[in-house]
């Protein structure tokens, strides 16, 4: 028995070491730094909870948090809506299925930064030209107001992630037993009823995964934010990750940024865990 224990730990050791080195240790360091006055250069001294107290009065951080929350709600909905729709589309018996799947998945292969720049061009140049051509002023000057900036981010994010989420839904949709659907059909259920009462409950686990992924990804978004709007105009489309980065490197307040990061971590963890817990309860066993 003791022998087996040794083996157990020995085989686990590489993974545990790696985890400790790249996740646990930095996390512990981060938490430690958030209680000091570290500026990235000098040796830090301890200041206790000061940064956490100051956080309550920080308007910038609150604005960023609020913007991120709004963005997350909208993009989680959009991404999952489009992801599921696309998945339903490509699991129908069309001949172009495989090509369509590839096409839908492709945006996900482009890095977030590049995507941001591409879409920046689309929003500022293409939209403006089209707007000028058809005389719709609303299409001009995207990315220069808070609202359009917000929607630009949501569009970019859904465009990129819907294909990825689609793949997850596909795998679950294809796992739905045909017999159940046939049985429902024989019982006289129409296609909507079949989807809602048979397919939907059975793909519930896919929702758990997809919601978790979209939720945490939207919350932590940084590169698309940086390349598309850069937080502008006047920091109104600045998301939390970017705000933290700016606090750390532009305002040179490393420790304060760490405190923000710790709070941010707790928020994301709490929301994600709650979501997974709720979703898990709704999953049905086959």
């Amino acid at each position: 028995m003791r022998n087996r224990n040794l083996w157990y730990w020995l085989f686990l050791a590489p993974a545990l070491t790696a985890l400790a080195m790249v996740v646990l240790l930095p996390l512990a360091y981060g938490v430690y730094y958030s209680f000091t006055d570290w500026n990235g250069i000098k040796t830090p001294s301890f200041v206790g909870l000061e940064h956490y107290k100051a956080l309550f009065y920080e308007e910038e951080f609150r604005n960023a948090l609020w913007f991120t929350t709004k963005f997350t709600i909208v993009s989680v909905f959009l991404i999952n809506f489009f992801g599921l729709s696309l998945a339903l589309l490509v699991t129908q018996k069309f001949r172009t299925n495989n090509i369509l799947r590839t096409i839908f998945f492709m945006p996900n292969l482009i890095g977030g930064l590049i995507l941001g720049f591409i879409w920046q061009f689309i929003f500022t140049k293409v939209f403006a030209s089209v707007g000028e051509l058809i005389g719709v002023e609303a299409l001009e000057g995207w990315l220069s107001t808070e609202t359009t900036g917000f929607w630009a981010m949501a569009i970019l994010m859904s465009w990129q992630m819907a294909g990825y989420i689609m793949v997850i839904y596909i795998s679950f949709l294809e796992g739905v037993p045909q017999e159940l659907l046939e049985a429902a059909e024989i019982d006289g259920a129409n296609s909507f009823q079949r989807f809602y009462h048979v397919t939907f409950p059975l793909v519930m686990p896919a929702f758990t995964v997809s919601l978790f992924l979209t939720l945490s990804n939207s919350f932590k978004l940084y590169d698309q934010n940086l390349s598309l709007t850069g937080g502008g105009p006047y920091n109104s489309t600045q998301m939390v990750a970017m705000e933290i980065f700016k606090t750390a490197f532009v305002e040179n307040a490393m420790a304060f940024a760490q405190a923000k990061a710790v709070i941010f971590f707790l928020i994301v963890a709490a929301i994600s865990l709650t979501q997974v817990y709720i979703n898990k309860k709704r999953e049905v066993e086959m």
Partner: protein, 435 residues
């Protein structure tokens, strides 16, 4: 049996950890050359921010290496769109400290103080023009050497001005500037302009640092240390500030909040779609990339007028300073100093500084007639005529210029904030940062 089983486990563990550590350690060997097994070889690692002269700088370093055997110079450049300050901090945090790096002004000097070697005994420090060392001198110790001088103002397109019948020499006051802008605006179609100005409010350094500096410098008596020590900012010349900003914004391509440097310089100015931009001599390269001829002979610079103070001056200052890492061993520090001295005081170095780097020298003993870039030349002329304003924005509280004032200016130009609110918020943020 037991040993047989144990072997693969230990091996895999060893490989994993070994592989992981190898990635971290391999990079340090170069710098930590204490003891120096290979004789008197000294490695000088330079971590610098100026992207524009990267290639030329590497060439001159190579020439120096050839002339001075035993000195090895490594240059790393992070700048332009990248955040140099952030990169420098990570570089230090990684333990891979450079020998020569850059500091910007009093705030950087205060932050990095423990890692700055005293450079007052270098020839370059003695040759530095008066005033250029102001921001990096502390307790009689010179902690940095200026790169060069730079100046900014309203860069204009000579051909367009000529076509519109405006004499740029006559623009030495705000009213003359306004007059010229109105003339240009009325002839927009004939001149092929989309707008007179291109105001890049997206770039908070253009508005929050450079533009504001012109109007805030007078209240700090044009001294960067005064700005650095000041507990408050009063916007004494706020009205003049507002006028110039409004003028640029009104006659600029819209929306200015999403107008960036590339659009301002390359898309609008270099193609002749905008007649005037607020920028400095560093744009020469960008303009040359689009229209070589325009860069070489078609551009000039106008002062940014501060009504009620100086209306005919150009802000000239030092963009960054060379600093030497005092944590390094003596030999390396000495080698670094020698290299910097050579660069700025030897004949060969001087030629490179003026002709290859196209710098406006910040040191004595240069032949100014050799400056080839027209913008640089004009700025040098302003400078010798004493028509300059100091760069005091290096003394603003950290992040204030860009993150507070620059952002407020974005709000102001998009109508989210009135000028009074801007002044109020910005002064409050300054006071808070200096509490």
């Amino acid at each position: 049996m037991k040993a047989k089983k144990l072997f693969p486990a230990v091996l895999s563990l060893g490989l994993l950890i070994g592989g992981g550590l190898a990635g971290c350690s391999s990079s340090d060997d170069k710098t930590s050359g204490e003891g120096g097994k290979d004789g008197d070889k000294v490695t000088v690692d330079i971590f610098q921010f100026k992207v524009e002269f990267k290639d030329q700088f590497e060439d001159i370093a190579k020439a120096y290496e050839e002339a001075n055997e035993g000195v090895d110079i490594n240059i790393t450049t992070v700048g332009g769109g990248e955040d140099y300050g952030a990169a420098l901090k990570s570089k230090f945090a990684s333990g891979n400290e450079p020998t020569i790096y850059n500091v910007g002004g009093p705030q950087d000097v205060a932050d990095w103080e423990d890692k700055l070697a005293d450079l007052s005994d270098t020839d370059a420090a003695k040759a530095a023009l008066s005033g250029t060392l102001e921001g990096v001198t502390k307790d009689d110790k010179v902690l940095g050497l200026p790169y060069n001088q730079e100046g900014y103002g309203f860069i204009y397109n000579k051909a367009i001005f000529e076509k519109a019948g405006i004499d740029p020499k006559s623009i030495t006051s705000y009213s003359a500037l306004e007059e010229a802008v109105k003339t240009l605006d009325s002839k927009k179609k004939d001149l092929g302009l989309t707008s007179v100005f291109a105001l890049p409010a997206k770039e908070t350094w253009v508005t929050g640092l450079h533009l504001s500096n012109v109007f805030l410098a007078p209240e700090f008596d044009q001294n960067v240390i005064n700005a650095f020590e000041s507990k408050e900012v009063t916007f004494e010349h706020g009205d003049a500030f507002k006028k110039v900003l409004d003028l640029q914004n009104k006659y600029s391509d819209q929306p200015t909040v999403s107008l960036d440097y590339a659009k301002q310089v390359e898309e609008l100015f270099s193609t002749g779609k905008a007649a005037i931009i607020q920028q400095g001599n560093w744009v020469s390269g960008s303009i040359a990339g689009i229209d070589e001829e325009l860069a070489n002979s078609g551009v000039g610079i106008l002062p940014i007028p501060v009504e009620g103070y100086k209306e005919d001056s150009i802000p000239v200052g030092v963009p960054m300073y060379w600093a030497v890492n005092s944590n390094k061993d003596e030999k390396e520090v000495a080698a670094a100093k020698e290299f910097l001295d050579w660069l700025y005081t030897s004949e060969e170095g001087k030629t490179a500084v003026i002709e290859d780097f196209k710098f406006i020298p910040a040191y004595e003993g240069y032949d100014a007639s050799k400056i080839s870039d027209p913008l640089a030349k004009e700025i040098y002329e302003y400078s010798s005529a004493g028509k300059t304003l100091a760069w005091t924005f290096m003394g603003y509280p950290t992040g204030w210029g860009q993150e507070k004032l620059g952002i407020n200016i974005q709000k102001y130009v998009s109508g989210e904030m009135t000028w009074d609110e801007l002044v109020e918020e910005s002064t409050k943020a300054w006071a808070e940062a200096r509490k």
